[in-house]
């Protein structure tokens, strides 16, 4: 397993007259956490949508562990091993927390439709196993006591954690997190950063992270890719990016001080 987990080559997306992404290329090695940053409207979420197949590419290619996934249906791409969370939370609001995770786990179940109708013992066994597995994923993010709560009845911070638990339950090779700390105060963001670090260690999960909270990004990411107006602005280590004059001018602000926070 030597190649990168994710490889984008010349990825381009046009919406009519608007170029959302132009010639975006980068690689993400196995086990790394990479940050994708840039001003609003830079094309970061579009990049996620292109990787996961929600939007079709106008040009370029996307490869997952060497295998081309350009043009595949989104649910197939998910089955190949990419999981993502959404900028605006997209939980199954009317369902309980546990069911949200169970639906993710269903992705890897294979029992037949006929067996479902008859509810054969094998199905019953699988259902029980899936429920237990779902509980372990909830425990990984600290939500096990909320299993029976309706998803939209939970506070915002916990909903974000559920989104992450759901993504983990897909047992992906690559995790895409779209602004997981959005709407959180500094304390909550660091808490979240700790969670992401823990997940990264426990699951050895290659991660691509879109975030505006710079303390989270700088604390977690080994490599950062900066976008602006749909194009690449800079790429490099966290330290290099914080010193890059183009990045400071376009996004971070010339008065930006190096992130002081470190997380345990």
């Amino acid at each position: 397993m030597s190649g990168p987990v994710l490889e984008l080559t010349g990825v381009t997306k046009l919406f009519g007259g608007i170029t959302a992404c132009k010639d975006i290329s980068f690689t993400l090695p196995k086990g790394q956490i990479m940050g994708l940053i840039g001003p609003n409207g830079a094309g970061k979420t579009t990049a996620f949508n292109l990787i996961t197949g929600v939007y079709g590419l106008t040009g370029g290619a996307v490869k997952l562990e060497g295998e081309a996934i350009t043009g595949l249906r989104p649910d197939l791409i998910v089955r190949k091993g990419i999981a993502r969370t959404f900028q605006n939370i997209r939980l199954f609001r009317n369902l309980c927390v546990l069911d949200n995770v169970i639906i993710a786990l269903d992705c890897h179940e294979t029992y037949l439709l006929a067996s479902s109708f008859l509810r054969l013992p094998s199905v019953r066994r699988r259902e029980k196993a899936v429920r237990e597995q779902a509980m372990t994923f909830l425990a990984a993010v600290g939500l096990e006591d909320k299993a029976a709560t309706r998803a939209d009845a939970m506070p915002y911070g916990l909903q974000r954690k559920l989104e992450i638990a759901r993504a983990l339950a897909l047992k992906p090779r690559l995790l895409l997190l779209d602004e997981p700390a959005a709407g959180m105060n500094p304390e909550e963001s660091l808490d979240l950063a700790r969670l992401i670090r823990k997940i990264h260690e426990d699951f050895q999960l290659t991660t691509l992270l879109i975030e505006h909270h710079m303390d989270v990004v700088m604390a977690l990411c080994e490599k950062i890719f900066v976008m602006n107006f749909g194009e690449k602005l800079a790429e490099g280590s966290a330290e290099a990016i914080q010193r890059d004059p183009d990045v400071l001018k376009a996004y971070l602000g010339e008065g930006f001080k190096r992130a002081q926070h470190t997380i345990a």
């Binding site: 649910d75 199954f92 992705c107 479902s116 109708f117």
Partner: protein, 290 residues
């Protein structure tokens, strides 16, 4: 007297079978089928033609009627669902198909056109209906509580997120449609051998409307809810001898009022269970006793 009551119950159970199927499609998968009576009609005509003209065994005819309904559901569903139509345009397309099936039934020689098919044998008895209803409800419940059912629910809740959970939207919806069409086909076959006469005008939008209204009123996340709502919709007008037309006026008003005041319908996302019944018992006793 019992004759009359058992007749009402029989008719009610026939519609329960069709409505439970529709509940899986509209309630759990979130798509409207405004021409669902067409599948009912296909099942009715298939089963009736088989027993009447070809002397088939009743149960085999029923099964084939259900299969015919499911097959047509597949044929209609494949192009329309593959195209990922918006919910409202899918509903309009189903209206069109309902129309098309009606035109077909009125013009094929074997269905004897608008005159209809009289003299069908009365094979449908209450015990048969009770068994069929029980089976269909059990299958529906099993389906909903399996990974296939959950996929449909995910599609209804948020189809973008469902896709991101590895759910194939097209297959999930098609599966629900075929199941609901087969249920309607089975109900149709049972109906034909209960009423003993069928003609195309019986399977009108009135029937489709009633089924959809029962699903909404019963609760779009429940199996028992729509079943109960169907029995109420059939039972009360019979009890009050209310004319068909006012029944429909009531359905329309009920739909709007439910959307405004109680969108979760009767049962919401829950099924009828002992706690609920005990709860009602407590409330009734309090109202009457205290």
């Amino acid at each position: 007297m019992w004759q009359y009551i058992s007749g009402v119950i029989s008719l009610g159970l026939i519609y329960v079978i069709a409505t439970v199927g529709l509940a899986v499609f509209t309630g759990f998968t979130g798509l409207f089928s405004l021409g669902h009576a067409a599948f009912f009609a296909i099942g009715a005509y298939t089963a009736a033609i088989l027993t009447y003209f070809y002397g088939y065994n009743f149960y085999l005819a029923l099964a084939l009627g259900a299969a015919a309904g499911g097959l047509v559901g597949f044929l209609i569903g494949y192009p329309t669902l593959k195209a990922k139509l918006r919910t409202d345009y899918f509903a309009i397309a189903t209206l069109g198909f309902g129309e098309a099936i009606r035109v077909l039934l009125e013009n094929l020689p074997i269905t004897q056109g608008a005159r209809g098919l009289p003299g069908i044998r009365a094979y449908t008895t209450l015990p048969v209906l009770v068994v069929c209803t029980g089976m269909v409800m059990m299958f529906a419940w099993n389906l909903i509580h399996s990974r296939h059912g959950r996929a449909s629910i995910a599609i209804r809740e948020d189809f973008v997120a469902a896709e991101m959970m590895g759910v194939n939207i097209f297959i999930g919806r098609l599966r629900s449609l075929v199941f609901s069409a087969a249920c309607a086909g089975l109900a149709g076959g049972l109906f034909a051998h209960y009423y003993c006469f069928i003609q195309p005008s019986m399977f009108s939008s009135y029937m489709s409307t009633q089924m959809t209204a029962a699903v909404v009123a019963g609760g779009m996340g429940s199996i028992s809810g729509p079943a109960i709502a169907t029995l109420i919709f059939i039972g009360i007008p019979e009890a009050l001898r209310v004319a068909n037309i006012w029944r429909l006026v009531a359905y329309g008003l009920i739909l709007v009022l439910i959307m405004i005041f109680r969108p979760q319908g009767l049962m919401g996302y829950k099924e009828l269970n002992m706690d609920m019944i005990r709860g009602w018992g407590r409330r009734i006793r309090k109202a009457v006793g205290a």
